[in-house]
């Protein structure tokens, strides 16, 4: 609802404005501004060390930006903790190791609902939220059938593709408006990777989710993205619609490696 309203007046679902961030003496982001349109896929591209992962970490509160702002539908989230930011509606799927292998598939999914309000509130509210949680789990299993068959198994037993599925399913259970995906195709076989990319497309087209997709594999990311941002050494060097970026031979050659 809110994203549809935002779409009408053309304002971004997520805006990052002049963000500086770094680790110790290293500057990882230098005045980065991006805006992600509602219900669209925004690809963030660039070489290793360009600052892509740092950008996502700064948005989700895992690191504190030194300057600049993070705005979600106009609300300023700058400097909030990750726990608060996921409650505000931004889910971050970090790169690699996204499942907790020591927990079962179902426990991993239940972790995704920990940001829901009212877990410790009055008994009646608690009962309602119990039923709601069960329904949300069922919905996740319906969408991701392979997980349903393995709900009692440890996540350690899942294949790479199933793990990625589990991680995305868990992020969706937080009911985000914006989904940050860091290299979801990393280490996956080409066929599985295509499935993950398909899923990302469906999440934005069919479910109206705003997606920020960080990818090393620029070619496949641009193939599904609406918009692309290219980072180099912590700065934005290009920002345009995906087709334009994909058609720019010099840019591709310089920064995207294809």
């Amino acid at each position: 609802m809110s994203s549809a309203a935002a779409q009408q007046d053309g304002s971004p679902a997520l805006a990052v404005d002049g963000l500086d961030a770094g680790y110790g003496g290293v500057i990882a982001l230098d005045g980065v501004s991006i805006s992600a349109r509602p219900a669209a896929i925004t690809a963030v591209l660039g070489a290793n060390g360009a600052g892509k992962t740092t950008l996502l970490r700064a948005i989700s509160g895992m690191i504190k930006p030194r300057r600049g702002r993070v705005l979600l539908g106009g609300a300023d989230l700058t400097g909030r903790s990750p726990e608060q930011i996921v409650r505000a509606g931004i889910a971050h799927v970090p790169e690699g190791q996204g499942v907790i292998p020591e927990l079962t598939v179902e426990e991993n999914l239940r972790v995704g609902m920990m940001s829901w309000p009212g877990a410790l509130s009055r008994a009646s509210a608690h009962r309602n939220s119990r039923a709601e949680r069960a329904a949300a789990l069922d919905e996740a299993y319906e969408r991701f059938q392979p997980l349903a068959d393995r709900r009692r198994k440890l996540a350690a037993t899942l294949s790479g593709g199933e793990r990625q599925m589990l991680v995305i399913a868990r992020a969706l259970l937080a009911r985000p408006r914006v989904l940050l995906l860091d290299e979801p195709s990393l280490g996956l076989a080409p066929r599985i990777m295509a499935q993950v990319m398909d899923l990302v497309v469906r999440l934005s087209r069919e479910h109206g989710l705003t997606i920020v997709l960080v990818e090393q594999n620029a070619r496949s990311a641009l193939a599904i993205a609406d918009h692309g941002v290219v980072l180099n050494l912590g700065r934005v060097v290009a920002s345009s619609d995906a087709q334009t970026l994909a058609a720019d031979v010099a840019l591709r050659h310089h920064y995207l490696g294809f």
Partner: protein, 297 residues
């Protein structure tokens, strides 16, 4: 009769093993979440046992002292984590080690100031005269049965809470992967405080259970801590089940050493425990039941 002797040593080993298991579990709870080895665990248990003895002295009720000790353990664990441990997080691991050693020295010093340094006897909840089957003594008392039951019930309750409650899942998620937990909205720092509180509870339990047989003085838990630590290492510092098994194995082994070691047997137990610790660290540093293999997948 050698068979009866063997049975007696085994049973009394199980009793002490359960106490070591409680200390080992408290160390595992903290280690799993925060990768901190709490050298002050024994000191904390000693301190809460002093609180128990004061409450028992003033109220005349063992159970009042017992309950207050456990509550004090929860509070002491949480307060220690919030005040001195939290500032060491995201710092080099050695910082936390030094802080917990400092905490141990502080608690032992304070105990000496507040409660005095002399040996004090601590009451048992039930009779400590040995049980018999017919005319054969079993080598364990009613109180020993209570010791085993108390640790068993506490351990099973904790295991169930970890497995079946939302807070339990939050704590496990925070311990296994703090980043994912935070990104999922879990207040990880708070979970670590809860972990220290539960560890404090287990330590306090071990303190009141062991003190009838060791006397109470500011250093009285030092040896018990070493045994608990050894048990935790045998089981793998990551594994709660391993901590319990490690505690039992160590308790039984030390009981045989004390029982069959002749006149010097009981003096040898600390030495043997340290020997086992060194051997386990050399041969299987991850412990016999460590979960780290799973993590490396």
């Amino acid at each position: 009769m050698p068979v009866v002797e063997f049975l007696q040593f085994t049973l009394s080993g199980i009793v002490f093993g359960m106490i070591y298991a409680a200390i080992a579990l408290s160390l595992v709870l903290i280690w799993r979440g925060t990768r901190v080895l709490n050298y002050a665990q024994g000191g904390m248990a000693m301190f809460t046992t002093y609180i128990a003895i004061e409450v028992i002295y003033h109220t005349g009720s063992y159970w009042a002292g017992f309950v207050v000790a456990l509550a004090a353990g929860v509070v002491l664990g949480a307060v220690c984590q919030l005040t001195v441990i939290r500032p060491t997080m995201n710092k080099p691991p050695l910082n936390a080690v030094i802080v917990t050693i400092g905490l141990l020295i502080l608690l032992e010093g304070l105990a000496g100031i507040f409660f005095g340094g002399q040996y004090r006897s601590f009451p048992a909840a039930f009779s400590i005269t040995g049980l018999k089957v017919g005319t054969t003594p079993l080598g364990v008392s009613r109180f020993d049965v209570f010791v085993v039951a108390a640790v068993l019930v506490t351990t099973l309750a904790l295991a169930a809470a970890f497995k079946y409650t939302s807070v339990g899942l939050r704590m496990r998620a925070a311990a296994f992967n703090a980043t994912i937990a935070r990104l999922s909205g879990i207040r990880v720092a708070r979970m670590f405080t809860v972990g220290w509180a539960l560890a404090g509870l287990l330590g306090a339990l071990a303190g009141v259970l062991v003190s009838p047989s060791t006397f109470l003085y500011p250093n009285s838990m030092d040896a018990i801590f070493v045994f608990g630590f050894t048990a935790a290492v045998i089981g793998g510092l990551d594994s709660p089940a391993g901590a319990v098994v490690g505690g039992l194995l160590l308790g039984i082994a030390l009981s045989y050493v004390a029982g069959y070691g002749g006149s010097k047997g009981s003096d040898l137990t600390s030495l043997v425990a340290l020997g086992i610790l060194v051997v386990v660290l050399m041969i299987r540093p991850d412990g016999l039941f460590s979960a780290t293999k799973v993590r490396r997948v």
